[in-house]
């Protein structure tokens, strides 16, 4: 579907706790069509700080009688996310979306969903989709510390419902296994073979996952983050370098890319 430029009504802002929070917006029926991996561009402030909109993966979608609700899972890192965390129920925000290419189809074999920090955002919708398709998946959730594993319960529940497991890791050991999320994944890659690895998170993690996909010849799809000026293909600011030497636009050709196509 074509993205629409509309405005959403803030339903609530939920701390997970801070700096992580959910922003729930009420909007038009068209939002119901949002697919896992797609994002929206939000005008976080009517003023100059920040001036440009900000990109957020759609974390969850639900139908309402008049339209739809989308939930965004965000982390306060600067002015835009700070403005968002300060919104109150009833405030309206300009929203452009849904934008970008969603995650592709899962294979017959179980999938591995791998999240680094707030990169988990788009994977909830993906989990829901896989569950609906009756596809099993394990969910790997890595963070620096326990607080960085926002919405763990929801992810764990989804994974288990699908028949899969939920594996959390933290660098300081404050929750789940101590270490990086790639460790438990590597283990399981040696035993059971996954059909696909779906990921989102910091570039460093995605790069490593791309390597692991190659090593174990398990196809991988990663949702990338780049700076974005517009989100709809006008500014050419979201360039992603591909292995074939071409330049792709994260907002149009992505944010989801097949790992082997990206020049990491």
């Amino acid at each position: 579907m074509q993205p629409i430029d509309t405005s959403g009504r803030v339903v609530e802002v939920v701390p997970h706790p801070l700096p992580y929070f959910s922003l729930v917006l009420e909007g038009p029926p068209a939002w119901r069509e949002t697919q896992a991996g797609q994002f929206v561009m939000i005008e976080t402030s009517a003023g100059l700080e920040p001036y440009l909109r900000r990109a957020f993966s759609v974390h969850d979608v639900s139908k309402t009688d008049r339209g739809a609700r989308i939930e965004l899972l965000a982390k306060i890192v600067g002015p835009g996310t700070r403005e968002m965390a300060h919104k109150r129920a009833g405030d309206t925000m300009k929203v452009l979306g849904p934008l970008g290419k969603p995650y592709g189809a899962a294979e017959a074999r179980p999938s591995a969903l791998v999240a680094g920090g707030v990169g988990s955002a788009p994977l909830l919708l993906l989990g829901r989709r896989l569950l609906a398709e009756g596809k099993r998946f394990d969910f790997f959730y890595g963070g620096r510390s326990a607080i960085d594993l926002a919405r763990s319960a929801a992810f764990a529940e989804l994974a288990r419902e699908s028949g899969g497991e939920f594996i959390a890791t933290t660098e300081d050991g404050s929750a789940g296994e101590r270490g990086l999320v790639t460790a438990p994944l590597a283990e399981r890659l040696r035993q059971s073979a996954y059909g696909k690895i779906f990921s989102c998170g910091p570039m460093g993690l995605l790069k490593r996952l791309a390597e692991m996909s190659a090593e174990h010849s398990v196809p991988g799809e990663a949702a990338l983050e780049t700076e974005m000026g517009c989100g709809y293909g006008a500014c050419l600011g979201c360039a992603v370098e591909l292995v074939d030497g071409k330049i792709a636009l994260c907002c149009k050709d992505g944010p989801v890319f097949a790992c082997e196509t990206v020049k990491w």
């Binding site: 003023g47 700080e49 001036y51 780049t226 700076e227 000026g229 979201c238």
Partner: protein, 328 residues
Amino acid sequence: MVSGADSGGRAEATGAIATPCAPDLSVRLGNLVLPNPIMTASGTFGYGLEFAHLAALDRLGGIVTKGLSLVPLRGNPPPRIGEPRGGMLNSIGLQNIGVEKFLADVLPGLGKFPAQVMVNLFGYEFDDYARLAERVDSFAGIAAVELNVSCPNVKKGGIEFGHDPVQLERLVRSVRDVTGKPIAVKLSPNVTSPVAIAEAAKAGGADVISAINTVLGMSIDPWTRRPSLNTTRGGLSGPAIKPIAVRIVHDVAKKVGLPVIGIGGVETVDDVVEFLLAGASAVQVGTALFRDPRTAERLVDGLASRLVEMKIERVSELIGAVRPWENA
């Protein structure tokens, strides 16, 4: 808080079209007549057509294409944009599909809109400009050419033709020799005397001056210590540069005697009126389109309402109508 106190600094831009007796929004740029003074700025709205689903292209006064070169360009590696307070930094590096693909695939589709199409041209070599102008000269769908001699993101050779009056006059003349279409020359703000550069463009045969291109700037992330741009330095745009643009538009309009297109931080109806008063005959909207793809059409509506409010029948009455202080 007091409900009813209208929020946001950009309310004027959203005023809906007003009255029965609609004011005359048309403006002239030399022989070029625009249905209204609101154009999209080069490099900020692609080639126009691809955003027909987000913006009402039929409402625009003019569309300026992304900078076109003889061959397609890949542009600079990422990161390509940064966001200092009040503006935007970019180093896209003039990525574009090339003039041939534009003429073949895009131009035909643009035909159905009243908006005047201006192609923005640039080259690395002196001759590129004339070759590009010559190539597009025969296409009726192209109303004018805009020469980008001022992009801070082109390193090759390192020359910005827009910084050297002598070079520029020759360059413009070489284009004048091969096309009858109106020629707009886009000024760099990064010079000691924009007026001298504009004079040179005029001497070379330019019909219109577009002012301004981005301002050379730079920013650094205090934590990663990385420049926000892969190229370290890049072009500053948005509200931050508007006072610089207004000053240059004012000086050029007053001293050079060519019609001027005002560019730089245009986002509200106040901004449009300000540029017109300073001497611009039209404006281009750039960075503001990234924030809101409908900015340009909103400005067309808002400008119409504003003229009614000001009891002005023709927008052209505002051009250069600034009132300096007596003892200035």
